[in-house]
């Protein structure tokens, strides 16, 4: 059973509280939206789920085993992280960049195998960047770069995708492509994605589950359709929210 569980989890950044007594289970097949104001601690929570931020109280389990009992190397086979920003002090080729995702799967003494190359190439095909293998990464556009980093994550092939604002500053088509991609990864390949995002409408449309970090320091988690209401969104955004319903769709607006 693939599951990532938090038990009475309390996280701090200095004295600021990110979440308190959070008990949740992220299961395979689920696509989670993580929402909250800027600076509320979304990135910190994502980091904590990858054992990259100290836990104040409570514990996190991956497949019934404490997260802190895993070695970093083993953890990387299970959990992948898409960072908000990347910089390129030493830009390399697109293919080499995507191959870095294979790192946790290659034993210390070995070179990348044909299999690793195939995984990388397939990942590039998935994001439709297979014709860019030899381009240097810093010559690509913002959207193309994001797709390369997503391909790297796909090549890493973990059970959990921790996505830190994967669609920020992208055009609408790119946003839809990326969200559709992860939705199908969850539904068809039985992965679990946890994604921080600011747009409630996109979260409503793509994510079956949501974790809302409210402005008062509390949090609400559950099925998106159950918990995402004008009332909870107002508590989250600290701004009056209107809701429009049309056919089966719901639209939130400020």
């Amino acid at each position: 059973m693939i599951m990532l569980t938090t038990q009475n989890l309390t996280l701090h950044i200095a004295s600021h509280i990110v979440c308190q007594n959070l008990s949740l289970t992220f299961k395979a097949g689920e696509f989670w939206a993580l929402m909250g104001l800027n600076g509320r601690g979304k990135t910190t929570l994502l980091k904590a789920l990858h054992a990259l931020h100290p836990v104040h109280k409570g514990s996190i389990y991956l497949n019934q085993r404490l997260l802190s009992d895993y070695s970093r190397f083993t953890l990387a086979k299970h959990i992948g992280f898409l960072l908000q920003n990347y910089d390129y002090p030493f830009p390399g080729s697109v293919l080499n960049t995507v191959l870095t995702g294979r790192y946790p799967h290659i034993p210390t003494w070995q070179w990348e195998s044909q299999h690793d190359y195939e995984m990388a190439y397939q990942a590039l095909q998935t994001v439709n960047m297979q014709h860019f293998t030899e381009r240097t990464i810093d010559t690509l556009s913002g959207g193309e770069k994001r797709r390369i980093h997503i391909a790297t994550l796909l090549a890493q092939n973990p059970d959990y995708y921790l996505l830190d604002e994967p669609i920020h500053s992208l055009d609408m088509k790119a946003q839809m492509d990326i969200l559709t991609l992860f939705q199908s990864e969850c539904r068809e390949k039985n992965k679990c994605a946890i994604m921080s995002i600011h747009d409630p409408n996109l979260a409503w449309r793509f994510c079956d589950h949501s974790l809302l970090l409210l402005a008062d320091g509390t949090q609400i988690a559950g099925k998106t359709q159950d918990i995402m209401t004008p009332f909870t969104l107002e508590a989250l955004f600290q701004y009056p929210i209107k809701v429009f319903k049309q056919d089966n769709s719901v639209f939130f607006t400020a």
């Binding site: 980091k47 990858h50 990259l52 070695s71 970093r72 190397f73 083993t74 953890l75 990387a76 086979k77 959990i79 992948g80 992280f81 960072l83 990347y86 910089d87 002090p89 030493f90 390399g92 080729s93 293919l95 080499n96 870095t100 995702g101 790192y103 946790p104 290659i106 210390t108 070179w111 044909q114 190359y117 195939e118 190439y121 397939q122 890493q156 921790l162």
Partner: protein
């Protein structure tokens, strides 16, 4: 669907053969040229065991040890450069950026000022380099972490502190000793024949082996701490290893030849421009190119104004910078 990608490790074989050829030629160049040219014929008969005692001494006691020292020094500095750049994720980092040369120069000059023997000068240069590394490490550390930006800032500040102390020493030094100090500061391979080279060989040999084992991690470290950690690397441990390995390499190089600039900056970048940033290739290639460049530069340093010799640091700059700028422009 199957996709085949030509394996990089075989496609680079010609490049490495070329580098080996360059290394061999640089040694031949340095063995044949000097105050007097030794012809290939004379060199050949030397190899067969019949040569004049002068030729024998020139080659075996002067030029060969000097070329070997130059090679090891250049190789160590290039490796240290690669490691520093990976550690600081900064293409402008060089072996000296964290104040290593400053620390070792200060202690070496202090030893010179007190009229210390050669042993004392090299010994204090080495301890100075290690001391400044420890200073950077402990001052840069914060809550059991070693943030790279803080490390860099600490290093640069310490470097300028060392710089002030060096200027102080030079100011109070009697003029007749200044020349020796300047030579040391610019790098000098003139004393290769009585240096304990074997320790440096060991450091280079085992050091290279060790960093090659780290090389796949280094490829990922370049992407930043968080990313490296998310891919399963304990970046903290790697950073500490990198700091101490690069310091050890730099300190050994300084001990052999004083402080020689530019090599650690130019060589890794030249290789990057030629074959990319994969450390599995970057490290050995930088070692070969850095070693040969210093062998060539040192041969020029002792021949172009013969019988005078120049500090080799001047030549590495004069040879290295145009080549580097050309490559940078072409890429």
């Amino acid at each position: 669907m199957s996709y085949y990608y030509p394996d990089k490790k075989y496609s680079l074989i010609p490049f490495f053969l070329l580098l080996l050829l360059l290394t061999l030629s640089s040694f031949l160049f340095s063995l044949l040229y000097g105050s007097t040219y030794i012809s290939l014929d004379a060199f050949y008969s030397l190899l067969q065991g019949n040569a004049t005692p002068l030729t024998h001494t020139l080659i075996y006691q002067l030029r060969l040890p000097r070329a070997l020292t130059a090679f090891v020094t250049g190789a160590l500095l290039s490796l240290a450069g690669v490691l520093m750049q990976a550690l600081l994720r900064n293409p402008l980092a060089d072996p000296y950026v964290l104040g290593l040369s400053g620390g070792s120069a200060f202690f070496a000059l202090l030893a010179m000022l007190w009229g210390g023997s050669h042993f004392w000068i090299t010994g204090s240069a080495f301890s100075g380099a290690l001391l400044s590394t420890l200073l950077v490490f402990f001052l840069g550390k914060k809550q059991q972490q070693l943030p790279v930006s803080r490390l860099l800032l600490t290093g640069i500040i310490l470097a300028s502190g060392w710089g002030a102390l060096i200027s102080f020493i030079i100011t109070i030094t009697p003029p007749e000793k200044i020349h020796g100090m300047l030579f040391w500061l610019m790098g000098d391979l003139g004393y290769s024949y009585n240096k304990p080279l074997s320790l440096s060989y060991l450091i280079l040999f085992f050091g290279l082996g060790y960093v090659l084992l780290l090389s796949r991690k280094l490829n990922i470290i370049l992407w930043g701490e968080l990313y490296a950690q998310s891919l399963g690397i304990n970046s903290q441990a790697i950073h500490i290893q990198l700091l101490f390995l690069s310091s050890l390499f730099t300190a050994s190089a300084i001990t052999l030849a004083g402080s020689i600039g530019f090599i650690g900056l130019i060589i890794p970048h030249t290789i990057r421009l030629l074959i990319g940033s994969d450390h599995r290739f970057l490290l050995p290639a930088s070692m070969l190119l850095g070693g040969s460049l210093l062998v060539i530069a040192d041969t020029l340093a002792r021949t172009i104004l013969s019988p005078q010799q120049l500090p080799v640091g001047i030549l590495t700059a004069l040879v290295g910078i145009p080549v580097f700028l050309y490559l940078l422009n072409k890429s």
